[in-house]
Symmetry: D3
Subunit: 159 residues, 6 copies
């Protein structure tokens, strides 16, 4: 039960803090080109493995990224983390590097990675995690390649 | 594997029950005004902490509330809980108190609480939980402040 | 941290593999008729239990099915499973049997089951699981009866 | 330009009216079973014409209905029509008759009509129009059979 | 038919222009508090007219604003208007004045107006129109108060 | 009013036809890479005009295409056009040529066109229109580049 405030005899303002572990999520988006191919394999192998997704002339997506943090609401602010600040963190860590860019060729932290949604959520996690400071913890990175398919990563310690 | 029905020699109707723990979720919505501020702090502190969210003249949201229960489908009904009844519970517990209202000033169970999404999901949990009866269990309260940001609470026992 | 590639002296192409457990989800949809009723009970009992959902003349839904797999991205492909192939699996296992069909009367694997969303996710799990092969694992079946209500099942071993 | 209020020497409250023709839209939803078939034709003809949509065991949809009215905002209320009242009109005219029902067999005003989305919007128009009173005018009935397909009707006078 | 390019003997780059009138739409959003009431009427009148929407302690919405322009794509740029620039125009004209604000009390261009969705689209039109320059023309202002209800205004000349 | 059927003395099945002009819309989607640039202009001009949208390494989008036809429901079928067939037409005319492709380099009917959303809707119209046969008429092509921006074209005769 939330902590009850005792009857206030004085007229001093007060704030009731609520206890518990809460998860907060912020959504951002970016539009990028990519292709799926393994450069150590033949064109035929890539064609068979990825079909149209290996088009050497690229295709693209409106990616939607949702990042979840875990923590306890600060008794003074009511926040785990200011989501406006989280939005800036996500822009710095991921969006500004990926938006209107080619994920295979132009994003340094993605060099050499096949940019499947599975690999992207892991790579994004490692860009975001160093920017999240206690008491908040990074809990989940979710990436929608399209509204009908997405990947989620809960960190390297999660199995 | 679902329990197989034995070949029916008689023509009596029968029902196959399926075993397992399932999570069901119902979504409701309400439109409210609020502001984020800590009355024990100065106006300048609140301005710096919350920016425009501390506007003393209020702003508002179309909140979307999703509540998840956990249980086993009743072998006779196929339900964990009738979601039409859950909708009524959510209206009684939260929506009727918050819809078209001011969350800071008009909602008794929110008195003295900074109405951040983090605090709201905890407070809502405590309003809803006493109204959920075994064998169903309250599992998660999720609240969207906007389509791009939401909080989730899995109960005071969850860390 | 993702595995760093050592400086490349040769000009051979290479691929950086990323480690971690990832969850991928694919969404499909189908439109079906159904009714909720227990044929071992009286009409009055069903009317009281299910209200309009027991209409003997049927009603229907645009069902949305989301299926989540769990695994590690293959270092050669970047995939846990090709989602185009998962889409075919879901069509074979569930959609082709249920789309534009009557869930009570026409779907063999649903015979004798009250087609509540709770029961459907369990039944769907058992149709899909045998078609998912290691190293990928079936993690969750989520079914939306409408955008405002859905059920999730994480398998018979999950409590 | 909106009518400017002259500087107020008295302290009497006042209201500024804005002029113009505005369109307001309200969305409601209902879940129904139906099938597409022409009973004056053979089963083979229906199969060829409608494919799976002619399933004699029915299928169904979560229909979404959007109704648009046209008018000038009342200078006293700011409303063309109270949308809460329009919601009730739509429930009386359409939703209460169609929700959780079989559109082919149970809806009197649809008797003998092939319930394609095209025919439904016309039939719904004729149920709704008599309930809309001047100065508001019924402008459009839009019906989504699924999120990916819908029909619109602007009245019998519109070509 | 699009203008066919004549066979190019030279290797000079060229651009094919396409002719036609096109409508482009940009969506922005803002979160505000408001109440519906006519200050020239009694409290009882307002209660009867607006019900809960007249709550003197305010309620609020996540408003979604869609603005449509009409024009011919510029043969040199392919644009009617750069939508990034349109987004800035909409922020200057409407969003920056309304976001996180109280529509009744804090927005100068809304002074004295009952902030129904009908009145808001007219008022927004008059703020936006002077900022749209030929050859583009303002065609429609659409405002969603919630996902289930919205108003549209096509300008003072449209009946 | 819908045509009333005269009381049926015989037991022959009959069908009531409804009169009126109806608009039907089908939605399809495709994922593509593109860039906005005018090859007759300098790199600096393109940078200034298009900003990040001119990235020579491409970016991309999940495009959503909605096509509307206009007609009278056929009294025998209830259809203006079978939307399953319309979906095939749209796949042949547009989707199969654009999906997982580079709109600037790989789509013959887009050669030499700056692939802004404005130009794309005109080009798509001209691919689709010859495939729509009376009595149905092509009425509108709507293309979402992202959920927050889209273009519409009502044909070369519309001003």
């Amino acid at each position: 039960m939330p902590k009850k405030s005792s009857p206030q005899k004085s007229r001093e303002p007060s704030v009731r803090a609520l206890a518990g572990t809460v998860f907060i999520t912020r959504q951002v988006h970016f539009n990028s080109a990519h292709r799926l191919y393994n450069p150590t394999k033949s064109l035929a192998w890539n064609q068979k493995q990825y079909g149209m997704c290996t088009n050497p002339h690229w295709h693209g997506h409106n990616y939607v990224l949702e990042v979840t943090l875990k923590g306890q609401p600060d008794p003074v602010t009511g926040y785990i983390m200011d989501l406006a600040r989280l939005k800036k963190v996500l822009h710095t860590a991921v969006v500004d590097k990926c938006d209107h860019r080619n994920l295979n060729d132009e994003v340094d932290f993605l060099r050499g990675i096949i940019p499947s949604t599975e690999n992207l959520v892991i790579a994004f996690w490692h860009e975001i995690a160093p920017r999240i400071h206690l008491p908040a913890r990074l809990h989940c990175v979710r990436l929608y390649e399209t509204p009908r398919n997405f990947a989620e990563f809960f960190g390297p310690a999660h199995h």
